[in-house]
Protein backbone atom coordinates (compact mmCIF):
# COMPACT_ATOMS: atom_id res chain seq x y z
CA UNK A 1 0.00 0.00 0.00
CA UNK A 2 1.00 3.60 -0.51
CA UNK A 3 0.16 5.70 2.54
CA UNK A 4 0.39 9.46 2.30
CA UNK A 5 -0.15 12.38 4.66
CA UNK A 6 -2.52 15.19 3.81
CA UNK A 7 -3.70 18.49 5.21
CA UNK A 8 -5.76 21.22 3.55
CA UNK A 9 -3.33 23.70 5.08
CA UNK A 10 -6.13 25.63 6.77
CA UNK A 11 -5.81 29.38 7.16
CA UNK A 12 -7.25 29.11 10.63
CA UNK A 13 -5.83 32.44 11.86
CA UNK A 14 -8.61 34.81 10.90
CA UNK A 15 -11.59 36.24 12.73
CA UNK A 16 -14.22 33.55 12.31
CA UNK A 17 -16.90 35.93 13.54
CA UNK A 18 -16.36 38.10 10.48
CA UNK A 19 -17.14 35.13 8.29
CA UNK A 20 -20.29 34.37 10.20
CA UNK A 21 -21.29 38.03 10.00
CA UNK A 22 -20.72 38.14 6.26
CA UNK A 23 -22.60 34.91 5.75
CA UNK A 24 -19.96 33.20 3.64
CA UNK A 25 -16.36 32.14 3.98
CA UNK A 26 -15.64 31.39 0.38
CA UNK A 27 -15.21 33.16 -2.95
CA UNK A 28 -16.36 36.67 -2.01
CA UNK A 29 -15.34 36.74 1.67
CA UNK A 30 -12.90 39.63 1.61
CA UNK A 31 -9.18 38.94 1.80
CA UNK A 32 -8.95 42.05 3.98
CA UNK A 33 -9.38 39.42 6.71
CA UNK A 34 -6.23 37.59 5.55
CA UNK A 35 -3.25 38.14 7.84
CA UNK A 36 0.00 37.64 5.94
CA UNK A 37 2.10 37.43 9.08
CA UNK A 38 -0.01 34.51 10.25
CA UNK A 39 -0.04 33.13 6.73
CA UNK A 40 3.75 33.15 6.70
CA UNK A 41 3.87 31.40 10.06
CA UNK A 42 1.40 28.73 8.98
CA UNK A 43 3.05 28.06 5.62
CA UNK A 44 6.38 27.49 7.33
CA UNK A 45 4.86 25.28 10.03
CA UNK A 46 3.07 23.17 7.41
CA UNK A 47 6.31 22.80 5.50
CA UNK A 48 8.10 21.62 8.64
CA UNK A 49 5.27 19.14 9.21
CA UNK A 50 5.66 17.67 5.74
CA UNK A 51 9.37 17.15 6.41
CA UNK A 52 8.44 15.55 9.73
CA UNK A 53 5.99 13.22 7.95
CA UNK A 54 8.80 12.04 5.69
CA UNK A 55 11.15 11.55 8.65
CA UNK A 56 8.48 9.52 10.44
CA UNK A 57 7.89 7.20 7.51
CA UNK A 58 5.04 8.42 5.30
CA UNK A 59 5.23 7.08 1.76
CA UNK A 60 3.95 10.26 0.24
CA UNK A 61 2.79 13.80 0.79
CA UNK A 62 -0.54 14.65 -0.81
CA UNK A 63 -1.01 18.24 -1.99
CA UNK A 64 -4.03 20.01 -3.39
CA UNK A 65 -5.19 23.45 -4.49
CA UNK A 66 -8.09 25.77 -3.71
CA UNK A 67 -8.79 29.46 -4.07
CA UNK A 68 -10.51 32.34 -2.30
CA UNK A 69 -11.21 30.51 0.92
CA UNK A 70 -9.65 30.13 4.36
CA UNK A 71 -10.08 26.38 4.42
CA UNK A 72 -7.07 25.85 2.15
CA UNK A 73 -3.95 27.95 1.88
CA UNK A 74 -2.57 26.15 -1.16
CA UNK A 75 -3.36 28.63 -3.89
CA UNK A 76 -0.91 26.81 -6.18
CA UNK A 77 -0.18 23.15 -5.65
CA UNK A 78 2.95 23.24 -7.82
CA UNK A 79 4.54 25.80 -5.48
CA UNK A 80 4.58 23.43 -2.54
CA UNK A 81 5.43 20.55 -4.83
CA UNK A 82 8.50 22.40 -6.02
CA UNK A 83 9.55 23.19 -2.47
CA UNK A 84 9.12 19.57 -1.38
CA UNK A 85 11.07 18.40 -4.42
CA UNK A 86 14.06 20.25 -2.99
CA UNK A 87 13.69 19.67 0.76
CA UNK A 88 12.57 16.03 0.84
CA UNK A 89 14.40 12.94 -0.34
CA UNK A 90 12.15 9.91 -0.32
CA UNK A 91 8.44 10.66 -0.23
CA UNK A 92 6.33 10.70 -3.36
CA UNK A 93 5.05 14.18 -4.08
CA UNK A 94 1.41 13.56 -4.92
CA UNK A 95 -0.70 16.28 -6.50
CA UNK A 96 -4.38 15.59 -6.02
CA UNK A 97 -4.43 17.49 -8.01
CA UNK A 98 -3.62 20.16 -10.54
CA UNK A 99 -6.92 21.70 -11.67
CA UNK A 100 -6.35 21.40 -15.40
CA UNK A 101 -9.23 23.60 -16.60
CA UNK A 102 -7.85 26.52 -14.60
CA UNK A 103 -4.77 26.54 -16.75
CA UNK A 104 -4.83 28.63 -19.90
CA UNK A 105 -1.46 27.14 -20.81
CA UNK A 106 -1.12 23.37 -20.35
CA UNK A 107 2.28 23.52 -22.04
CA UNK A 108 3.63 25.69 -19.25
CA UNK A 109 1.95 23.42 -16.70
CA UNK A 110 3.72 20.43 -18.24
CA UNK A 111 7.02 22.30 -17.88
CA UNK A 112 6.41 22.98 -14.17
CA UNK A 113 5.52 19.36 -13.53
CA UNK A 114 8.54 18.13 -15.45
CA UNK A 115 10.79 20.41 -13.42
CA UNK A 116 9.31 19.08 -10.18
CA UNK A 117 9.81 15.51 -11.38
CA UNK A 118 13.43 16.14 -12.29
CA UNK A 119 14.33 18.13 -9.18
CA UNK A 120 12.72 15.45 -6.99
CA UNK A 121 14.59 12.77 -8.96
CA UNK A 122 11.47 11.07 -10.19
CA UNK A 123 9.12 11.30 -7.20
CA UNK A 124 6.20 13.12 -8.80
CA UNK A 125 2.69 11.69 -8.95
CA UNK A 126 0.90 14.10 -11.23
CA UNK A 127 -2.74 13.98 -10.22
CA UNK A 128 -5.23 16.05 -12.15
CA UNK A 129 -8.63 17.35 -11.16
CA UNK A 130 -11.44 19.29 -12.81
CA UNK A 131 -11.37 21.76 -9.93
CA UNK A 132 -14.44 22.64 -7.91
CA UNK A 133 -17.05 25.03 -9.23
CA UNK A 134 -15.82 27.77 -6.96
CA UNK A 135 -12.32 27.45 -8.37
CA UNK A 136 -13.64 28.19 -11.85
CA UNK A 137 -15.29 31.39 -10.64
CA UNK A 138 -12.26 32.46 -8.61
CA UNK A 139 -10.04 32.08 -11.67
CA UNK A 140 -12.40 33.47 -14.30
CA UNK A 141 -12.61 30.12 -16.08
CA UNK A 142 -15.77 29.08 -17.92
CA UNK A 143 -17.49 26.37 -15.88
CA UNK A 144 -19.54 25.21 -18.87
CA UNK A 145 -16.36 24.08 -20.63
CA UNK A 146 -14.80 22.55 -17.54
CA UNK A 147 -14.90 18.93 -18.59
CA UNK A 148 -13.82 19.65 -22.16
CA UNK A 149 -10.87 21.74 -20.94
CA UNK A 150 -9.91 19.01 -18.48
CA UNK A 151 -9.79 16.33 -21.15
CA UNK A 152 -8.07 18.48 -23.76
CA UNK A 153 -5.43 19.77 -21.33
CA UNK A 154 -4.78 16.18 -20.21
CA UNK A 155 -4.44 14.99 -23.81
CA UNK A 156 -2.06 17.83 -24.64
CA UNK A 157 0.14 17.17 -21.60
CA UNK A 158 0.12 13.45 -22.33
CA UNK A 159 1.23 14.16 -25.90
CA UNK A 160 3.99 16.50 -24.70
CA UNK A 161 5.28 13.80 -22.38
CA UNK A 162 5.13 10.96 -24.89
CA UNK A 163 5.93 12.46 -28.28
CA UNK A 164 8.94 14.54 -29.20
CA UNK A 165 8.44 18.18 -30.16
CA UNK A 166 8.11 20.39 -31.95
CA UNK A 167 4.49 19.90 -32.87
CA UNK A 168 1.47 22.12 -33.30
CA UNK A 169 -1.73 21.85 -31.27
CA UNK A 170 -4.95 23.33 -32.65
CA UNK A 171 -7.55 22.25 -30.16
CA UNK A 172 -10.96 23.55 -29.14
CA UNK A 173 -9.78 25.35 -26.03
CA UNK A 174 -6.01 25.43 -26.42
CA UNK A 175 -4.07 26.48 -29.47
CA UNK A 176 -0.27 26.38 -29.54
CA UNK A 177 1.77 26.93 -32.66
CA UNK A 178 5.05 25.46 -31.30
CA UNK A 179 4.89 22.83 -28.58
CA UNK A 180 8.46 21.97 -27.77
CA UNK A 181 9.17 22.43 -24.04
CA UNK A 182 12.75 21.88 -22.93
CA UNK A 183 11.60 20.36 -19.67
CA UNK A 184 10.35 16.78 -19.79
CA UNK A 185 9.86 14.40 -16.86
CA UNK A 186 12.43 11.86 -15.73
CA UNK A 187 9.84 9.16 -15.16
CA UNK A 188 8.98 7.15 -18.27
CA UNK A 189 6.67 6.85 -20.06
CA UNK A 190 5.49 9.69 -17.81
CA UNK A 191 4.78 10.34 -14.13
CA UNK A 192 1.87 8.36 -12.74
CA UNK A 193 -1.42 10.18 -12.98
CA UNK A 194 -4.04 9.73 -10.28
CA UNK A 195 -7.50 11.26 -10.44
CA UNK A 196 -9.33 12.22 -7.25
CA UNK A 197 -13.05 12.88 -7.03
CA UNK A 198 -16.23 12.65 -5.06
CA UNK A 199 -19.40 12.67 -7.06
CA UNK A 200 -18.97 12.70 -10.80
CA UNK A 201 -19.71 9.36 -12.43
CA UNK A 202 -18.37 10.64 -15.74
CA UNK A 203 -14.99 11.29 -14.12
CA UNK A 204 -14.88 7.79 -12.62
CA UNK A 205 -15.58 6.24 -16.01
CA UNK A 206 -13.06 8.43 -17.81
CA UNK A 207 -10.43 7.58 -15.20
CA UNK A 208 -11.06 3.85 -15.61
CA UNK A 209 -10.81 4.21 -19.38
CA UNK A 210 -7.32 5.68 -18.93
CA UNK A 211 -6.43 3.01 -16.35
CA UNK A 212 -5.48 5.78 -13.90
CA UNK A 213 -6.14 5.14 -10.21
CA UNK A 214 -9.22 6.89 -8.87
CA UNK A 215 -8.90 8.42 -5.42
CA UNK A 216 -12.22 8.72 -3.59
CA UNK A 217 -12.09 11.78 -1.36
CA UNK A 218 -13.58 10.95 2.02
CA UNK A 219 -16.67 9.32 0.58
CA UNK A 220 -18.64 7.00 2.81
CA UNK A 221 -17.61 3.33 2.68
CA UNK A 222 -20.87 2.49 0.88
CA UNK A 223 -20.47 5.27 -1.68
CA UNK A 224 -16.85 4.21 -2.16
CA UNK A 225 -17.92 0.67 -3.04
CA UNK A 226 -20.35 2.09 -5.59
CA UNK A 227 -17.53 4.12 -7.12
CA UNK A 228 -15.41 0.98 -7.36
CA UNK A 229 -18.29 -0.84 -9.05
CA UNK A 230 -18.61 1.92 -11.63
CA UNK A 231 -14.86 1.96 -12.17
CA UNK A 232 -14.61 -1.83 -12.44
CA UNK A 233 -17.36 -2.03 -15.04
CA UNK A 234 -15.71 0.68 -17.14
CA UNK A 235 -12.37 -1.11 -16.75
CA UNK A 236 -13.86 -4.39 -17.92
CA UNK A 237 -15.32 -2.60 -20.95
CA UNK A 238 -11.83 -1.60 -22.06
CA UNK A 239 -10.34 -4.97 -21.32
CA UNK A 240 -8.73 -5.12 -17.89
CA UNK A 241 -9.65 -6.16 -14.39
CA UNK A 242 -9.43 -3.38 -11.84
CA UNK A 243 -7.67 -4.11 -8.56
CA UNK A 244 -6.49 -2.31 -5.43
CA UNK A 245 -3.78 -0.58 -7.46
CA UNK A 246 -6.59 1.30 -9.24
CA UNK A 247 -8.25 2.53 -6.08
CA UNK A 248 -7.31 5.14 -3.53
CA UNK A 249 -9.17 6.53 -0.54
CA UNK A 250 -8.76 9.69 1.52
CA UNK A 251 -9.97 9.55 5.12
CA UNK A 252 -9.94 12.07 7.95
CA UNK A 253 -7.94 10.64 10.83
CA UNK A 254 -6.61 12.28 13.95
CA UNK A 255 -4.35 10.44 16.36
CA UNK A 256 -3.24 11.47 19.81
CA UNK A 257 -1.91 9.79 22.94
CA UNK A 258 -5.38 9.86 24.48
CA UNK A 259 -8.77 9.25 22.92
CA UNK A 260 -10.15 12.34 24.60
CA UNK A 261 -7.61 14.62 23.03
CA UNK A 262 -7.95 12.94 19.65
CA UNK A 263 -11.71 13.42 19.61
CA UNK A 264 -11.38 17.00 20.79
CA UNK A 265 -8.99 17.83 17.96
CA UNK A 266 -10.92 15.79 15.43
CA UNK A 267 -13.86 18.14 15.90
CA UNK A 268 -11.76 20.60 13.94
CA UNK A 269 -12.66 18.60 10.83
CA UNK A 270 -16.07 20.25 11.23
CA UNK A 271 -14.43 23.68 10.97
CA UNK A 272 -14.00 23.24 7.26
CA UNK A 273 -17.28 21.44 6.77
CA UNK A 274 -19.24 24.17 8.48
CA UNK A 275 -17.54 26.84 6.46
CA UNK A 276 -17.22 25.17 3.11
CA UNK A 277 -20.54 23.55 2.86
CA UNK A 278 -22.48 25.72 5.23
CA UNK A 279 -21.22 29.19 4.49
CA UNK A 280 -21.07 29.36 0.73
CA UNK A 281 -23.75 29.77 -1.88
CA UNK A 282 -24.55 26.46 -3.63
CA UNK A 283 -24.26 28.06 -7.07
CA UNK A 284 -20.61 28.78 -6.31
CA UNK A 285 -19.87 25.08 -5.88
CA UNK A 286 -21.89 24.13 -8.96
CA UNK A 287 -22.09 26.97 -11.47
CA UNK A 288 -24.27 26.35 -14.49
CA UNK A 289 -22.77 23.95 -16.99
CA UNK A 290 -20.26 22.59 -14.49
CA UNK A 291 -22.20 19.55 -13.32
CA UNK A 292 -23.83 16.71 -15.20
CA UNK A 293 -27.16 17.63 -16.85
CA UNK A 294 -28.68 14.61 -15.12
CA UNK A 295 -28.17 16.39 -11.79
CA UNK A 296 -29.63 19.73 -12.89
CA UNK A 297 -33.14 19.33 -11.58
CA UNK A 298 -32.13 18.16 -8.12
CA UNK A 299 -29.50 20.84 -7.89
CA UNK A 300 -31.73 23.81 -8.73
CA UNK A 301 -34.10 22.69 -6.01
CA UNK A 302 -31.30 22.43 -3.47
CA UNK A 303 -29.75 25.74 -4.57
CA UNK A 304 -33.01 27.61 -3.96
CA UNK A 305 -33.57 26.03 -0.57
CA UNK A 306 -36.37 23.78 -1.75
CA UNK A 307 -34.52 20.54 -1.13
CA UNK A 308 -31.91 19.31 1.29
CA UNK A 309 -28.24 19.07 0.52
CA UNK A 310 -27.91 15.76 -1.34
CA UNK A 311 -24.67 15.12 0.55
CA UNK A 312 -26.47 15.69 3.82
CA UNK A 313 -24.94 17.54 6.75
CA UNK A 314 -23.97 14.78 9.16
CA UNK A 315 -22.90 15.74 12.63
CA UNK A 316 -19.46 15.01 13.99
CA UNK A 317 -20.81 12.10 16.03
CA UNK A 318 -22.53 10.63 12.94
CA UNK A 319 -19.35 10.91 10.94
CA UNK A 320 -17.35 9.12 13.64
CA UNK A 321 -20.00 6.42 13.85
CA UNK A 322 -20.02 6.00 10.06
CA UNK A 323 -16.21 5.95 9.88
CA UNK A 324 -16.05 9.15 7.86
CA UNK A 325 -13.86 10.55 10.64
CA UNK A 326 -11.57 8.34 12.71
CA UNK A 327 -10.09 9.64 15.94
CA UNK A 328 -8.35 8.00 18.86
CA UNK A 329 -5.16 6.47 20.13
CA UNK A 330 -2.94 4.62 17.67
CA UNK A 331 -4.45 1.28 18.68
CA UNK A 332 -8.00 2.56 18.24
CA UNK A 333 -7.23 4.15 14.89
CA UNK A 334 -5.42 1.06 13.64
CA UNK A 335 -8.41 -1.12 14.46
CA UNK A 336 -10.81 1.16 12.64
CA UNK A 337 -8.57 1.63 9.62
CA UNK A 338 -8.09 -2.10 9.31
CA UNK A 339 -11.85 -2.51 9.10
CA UNK A 340 -12.04 0.33 6.57
CA UNK A 341 -9.46 -1.10 4.19
CA UNK A 342 -11.09 -4.51 4.48
CA UNK A 343 -14.30 -2.84 3.28
CA UNK A 344 -12.89 -0.52 0.64
CA UNK A 345 -9.71 -2.38 -0.39
CA UNK A 346 -7.59 0.48 -1.69
CA UNK A 347 -3.96 0.18 -2.71
CA UNK A 348 -3.50 3.92 -2.05
CA UNK A 349 -4.58 5.71 1.07
CA UNK A 350 -4.47 9.37 1.98
CA UNK A 351 -4.63 10.15 5.65
CA UNK A 352 -6.02 13.61 6.29
CA UNK A 353 -4.47 14.22 9.68
CA UNK A 354 -5.07 17.78 10.77
CA UNK A 355 -7.51 20.62 10.21
CA UNK A 356 -8.82 23.86 11.59
CA UNK A 357 -7.17 25.29 14.68
CA UNK A 358 -5.41 22.17 15.96
CA UNK A 359 -2.27 23.44 17.70
CA UNK A 360 1.16 23.09 16.18
CA UNK A 361 2.21 20.74 18.97
CA UNK A 362 -0.81 18.52 18.50
CA UNK A 363 -0.44 18.50 14.70
CA UNK A 364 3.12 17.31 15.06
CA UNK A 365 2.17 14.66 17.62
CA UNK A 366 -0.54 13.41 15.29
CA UNK A 367 1.96 13.13 12.44
CA UNK A 368 4.45 11.24 14.63
CA UNK A 369 1.89 8.73 15.85
CA UNK A 370 0.27 8.39 12.45
CA UNK A 371 3.44 7.81 10.50
CA UNK A 372 5.44 5.86 13.08
CA UNK A 373 2.71 3.61 14.48
CA UNK A 374 -0.48 3.67 12.44
CA UNK A 375 0.90 3.57 8.92
CA UNK A 376 3.26 0.58 9.48
CA UNK A 377 0.39 -1.43 10.97
CA UNK A 378 -1.94 -0.59 8.11
CA UNK A 379 0.77 -1.26 5.55
CA UNK A 380 1.31 -4.70 7.07
CA UNK A 381 -2.41 -5.46 7.16
CA UNK A 382 -2.78 -4.22 3.61
CA UNK A 383 -0.02 -6.56 2.48
CA UNK A 384 -1.86 -9.49 4.06
CA UNK A 385 -4.99 -8.47 2.15
CA UNK A 386 -3.07 -8.17 -1.09
CA UNK A 387 -3.64 -4.44 -1.38
CA UNK A 388 -0.80 -3.50 -3.69
CA UNK A 389 -0.16 0.06 -4.73
CA UNK A 390 0.61 0.85 -8.41
CA UNK A 391 4.35 0.41 -7.93
CA UNK A 392 4.03 -2.88 -6.09
CA UNK A 393 1.60 -4.11 -8.74
CA UNK A 394 3.82 -2.81 -11.56
CA UNK A 395 0.65 -1.27 -12.96
CA UNK A 396 0.88 0.39 -16.35
CA UNK A 397 0.99 4.17 -16.25
CA UNK A 398 -1.83 4.34 -18.80
CA UNK A 399 -4.09 1.89 -20.60
CA UNK A 400 -1.97 2.14 -23.75
CA UNK A 401 0.96 0.59 -21.88
CA UNK A 402 -1.04 -2.41 -20.73
CA UNK A 403 0.45 -5.80 -21.40
CA UNK A 404 -2.52 -7.79 -20.13
CA UNK A 405 -5.18 -6.83 -22.65
CA UNK A 406 -5.43 -9.43 -25.46
CA UNK A 407 -6.99 -7.11 -28.05
CA UNK A 408 -4.06 -4.69 -27.77
CA UNK A 409 -1.54 -7.52 -28.29
CA UNK A 410 -3.37 -8.60 -31.43
CA UNK A 411 -3.20 -5.02 -32.75
CA UNK A 412 0.57 -4.92 -32.19
CA UNK A 413 0.95 -8.12 -34.23
Amino acid sequence: MHLMYFTEQPMAAYDAQEGLKYGATALTFSNSHYNSIEGSRLYNEYLEEYILAEECGADGIMLNEHHNAPFCMQARTNMFGAILAAVTNRVKIVFLGNPLPLSDNPVQLSEELAMIDMISKGRLVSGFVRGGGQEQLANGVNPAYNRERFIEAHDLIQKIWTEPGPFRWEGTHYQHRVVNPWAIPMQKPYPRVWIPGVLSKETVIWTAQQRYPYIALNTSPEATKQIWDTYSKAAADVGYTAGPENFGYLIRVHVQDTEEKALQNARQFMWMQGEFTGLAHPVWANPSGYFSPSGRRNFVQFATGRAKNPRGQPTFEEQVKDTMIIAGTPAQVIERLKWLIEQTRPGIMGIWGNDGTVSKEDRRRCIELLCREVMPAIREHGAKLGLKDPWEANAPVHLRYSTDIPVQRAAAE
Binding site: P282, V283, R296, T304
Partner: protein, 153 residues
Protein backbone atom coordinates in the same frame (compact mmCIF):
# COMPACT_ATOMS: atom_id res chain seq x y z
CA UNK B 1 -26.15 42.53 -36.43
CA UNK B 2 -26.68 46.17 -37.30
CA UNK B 3 -22.95 46.84 -37.03
CA UNK B 4 -22.22 43.97 -39.43
CA UNK B 5 -24.88 44.99 -41.93
CA UNK B 6 -25.20 48.77 -41.54
CA UNK B 7 -27.60 49.24 -44.42
CA UNK B 8 -29.88 46.33 -43.60
CA UNK B 9 -31.96 47.92 -40.86
CA UNK B 10 -33.99 51.08 -41.21
CA UNK B 11 -34.53 51.44 -37.49
CA UNK B 12 -33.05 49.91 -34.38
CA UNK B 13 -34.54 49.49 -30.91
CA UNK B 14 -32.30 48.55 -28.00
CA UNK B 15 -33.93 47.73 -24.66
CA UNK B 16 -31.64 47.40 -21.66
CA UNK B 17 -29.05 46.11 -24.07
CA UNK B 18 -25.92 44.31 -23.00
CA UNK B 19 -23.06 44.21 -25.49
CA UNK B 20 -20.84 47.09 -24.44
CA UNK B 21 -18.96 47.61 -21.19
CA UNK B 22 -20.82 50.16 -19.09
CA UNK B 23 -18.61 53.20 -18.41
CA UNK B 24 -19.99 53.28 -14.86
CA UNK B 25 -20.77 50.09 -12.97
CA UNK B 26 -20.72 46.49 -14.20
CA UNK B 27 -23.22 44.18 -15.85
CA UNK B 28 -24.68 42.05 -13.04
CA UNK B 29 -22.94 38.70 -12.75
CA UNK B 30 -25.49 35.92 -12.61
CA UNK B 31 -22.78 33.35 -11.91
CA UNK B 32 -22.60 34.13 -8.23
CA UNK B 33 -26.23 34.72 -7.31
CA UNK B 34 -29.12 32.34 -6.96
CA UNK B 35 -31.57 31.36 -9.67
CA UNK B 36 -34.25 33.42 -7.93
CA UNK B 37 -32.22 36.45 -6.88
CA UNK B 38 -31.00 37.19 -10.39
CA UNK B 39 -34.39 37.47 -12.13
CA UNK B 40 -35.84 39.22 -9.08
CA UNK B 41 -33.16 41.87 -9.43
CA UNK B 42 -34.40 42.47 -12.98
CA UNK B 43 -37.68 43.89 -11.71
CA UNK B 44 -38.24 47.18 -9.94
CA UNK B 45 -41.50 45.96 -8.43
CA UNK B 46 -41.42 42.45 -6.99
CA UNK B 47 -45.16 42.21 -7.60
CA UNK B 48 -44.29 42.30 -11.31
CA UNK B 49 -41.92 39.35 -10.83
CA UNK B 50 -44.71 37.43 -9.10
CA UNK B 51 -47.16 38.35 -11.83
CA UNK B 52 -44.85 36.98 -14.53
CA UNK B 53 -43.27 33.99 -12.78
CA UNK B 54 -45.51 33.20 -9.84
CA UNK B 55 -43.70 30.89 -7.43
CA UNK B 56 -41.17 29.95 -10.15
CA UNK B 57 -41.59 26.18 -10.07
CA UNK B 58 -38.83 23.63 -10.59
CA UNK B 59 -39.42 23.53 -14.35
CA UNK B 60 -38.78 27.28 -14.44
CA UNK B 61 -35.65 26.97 -12.28
CA UNK B 62 -34.36 24.29 -14.61
CA UNK B 63 -34.95 26.52 -17.62
CA UNK B 64 -33.12 29.37 -15.91
CA UNK B 65 -30.16 27.10 -15.26
CA UNK B 66 -30.10 26.03 -18.91
CA UNK B 67 -30.24 29.68 -19.97
CA UNK B 68 -27.48 30.50 -17.57
CA UNK B 69 -25.33 27.74 -18.99
CA UNK B 70 -25.92 29.05 -22.50
CA UNK B 71 -24.95 32.55 -21.38
CA UNK B 72 -21.71 31.13 -20.04
CA UNK B 73 -21.05 29.23 -23.26
CA UNK B 74 -21.57 32.28 -25.45
CA UNK B 75 -20.70 35.33 -23.35
CA UNK B 76 -18.41 34.31 -20.49
CA UNK B 77 -15.39 36.47 -21.07
CA UNK B 78 -15.59 39.41 -21.38
CA UNK B 79 -18.85 38.96 -19.52
CA UNK B 80 -21.81 39.98 -21.68
CA UNK B 81 -20.00 42.62 -23.69
CA UNK B 82 -17.79 42.92 -26.74
CA UNK B 83 -14.62 44.96 -26.75
CA UNK B 84 -14.97 45.35 -30.50
CA UNK B 85 -18.55 46.56 -30.71
CA UNK B 86 -18.03 50.14 -29.47
CA UNK B 87 -15.66 50.71 -32.40
CA UNK B 88 -18.24 49.50 -34.90
CA UNK B 89 -21.30 51.35 -33.65
CA UNK B 90 -20.32 54.55 -35.45
CA UNK B 91 -20.89 52.74 -38.73
CA UNK B 92 -24.52 51.88 -37.96
CA UNK B 93 -26.75 54.05 -40.13
CA UNK B 94 -30.11 53.10 -38.59
CA UNK B 95 -32.03 55.55 -36.47
CA UNK B 96 -31.99 54.10 -32.98
CA UNK B 97 -34.26 54.17 -29.95
CA UNK B 98 -32.52 53.13 -26.75
CA UNK B 99 -34.91 52.27 -23.90
CA UNK B 100 -33.84 51.72 -20.33
CA UNK B 101 -35.65 51.07 -17.06
CA UNK B 102 -34.70 53.73 -14.53
CA UNK B 103 -34.03 50.99 -11.96
CA UNK B 104 -32.09 48.58 -14.15
CA UNK B 105 -29.89 46.60 -11.78
CA UNK B 106 -28.68 44.18 -14.46
CA UNK B 107 -27.20 46.64 -16.95
CA UNK B 108 -26.29 50.10 -15.66
CA UNK B 109 -27.95 52.97 -17.53
CA UNK B 110 -24.47 54.28 -18.33
CA UNK B 111 -24.40 51.59 -21.03
CA UNK B 112 -27.54 53.07 -22.57
CA UNK B 113 -25.97 56.49 -22.52
CA UNK B 114 -22.84 55.06 -24.13
CA UNK B 115 -24.91 53.48 -26.92
CA UNK B 116 -26.58 56.81 -27.63
CA UNK B 117 -23.24 58.56 -27.75
CA UNK B 118 -21.69 55.96 -30.08
CA UNK B 119 -24.56 55.57 -32.55
CA UNK B 120 -24.96 58.22 -35.24
CA UNK B 121 -28.62 58.95 -34.68
CA UNK B 122 -30.01 57.71 -31.38
CA UNK B 123 -32.04 58.89 -28.44
CA UNK B 124 -32.49 57.48 -24.92
CA UNK B 125 -35.88 56.98 -23.30
CA UNK B 126 -36.10 55.90 -19.67
CA UNK B 127 -39.11 54.11 -18.25
CA UNK B 128 -39.97 55.15 -14.74
CA UNK B 129 -40.28 52.65 -11.88
CA UNK B 130 -38.97 49.89 -14.09
CA UNK B 131 -36.16 47.36 -13.89
CA UNK B 132 -34.17 45.60 -16.58
CA UNK B 133 -37.05 43.55 -18.00
CA UNK B 134 -38.96 46.49 -19.49
CA UNK B 135 -40.91 44.20 -21.82
CA UNK B 136 -42.24 42.19 -18.85
CA UNK B 137 -42.62 44.95 -16.25
CA UNK B 138 -43.92 47.80 -18.39
CA UNK B 139 -45.03 46.21 -21.67
CA UNK B 140 -47.60 48.88 -22.53
CA UNK B 141 -45.12 51.69 -22.05
CA UNK B 142 -42.52 49.90 -24.13
CA UNK B 143 -45.05 49.17 -26.87
CA UNK B 144 -46.00 52.86 -26.96
CA UNK B 145 -42.41 53.98 -27.26
CA UNK B 146 -41.56 51.42 -29.95
CA UNK B 147 -44.66 51.90 -32.11
CA UNK B 148 -44.36 55.66 -32.08
CA UNK B 149 -40.67 55.37 -32.98
CA UNK B 150 -41.26 52.85 -35.75
CA UNK B 151 -44.20 54.74 -37.21
CA UNK B 152 -42.48 58.11 -37.18
CA UNK B 153 -40.90 59.32 -40.43
Amino acid sequence: MASQAPAAYAKLVLVGAMGIKPPVGDIADQAIVSYLDYPRAGFHDQAAFARVYGEADTDQLEQWDICREMVFRTAWKPYMYSQTLPHLLGGVRSKALVVWGDDDRHVPISAGEAYVKALRDARLETVAACGHYVEMEKPDELARLVTSFVNAN
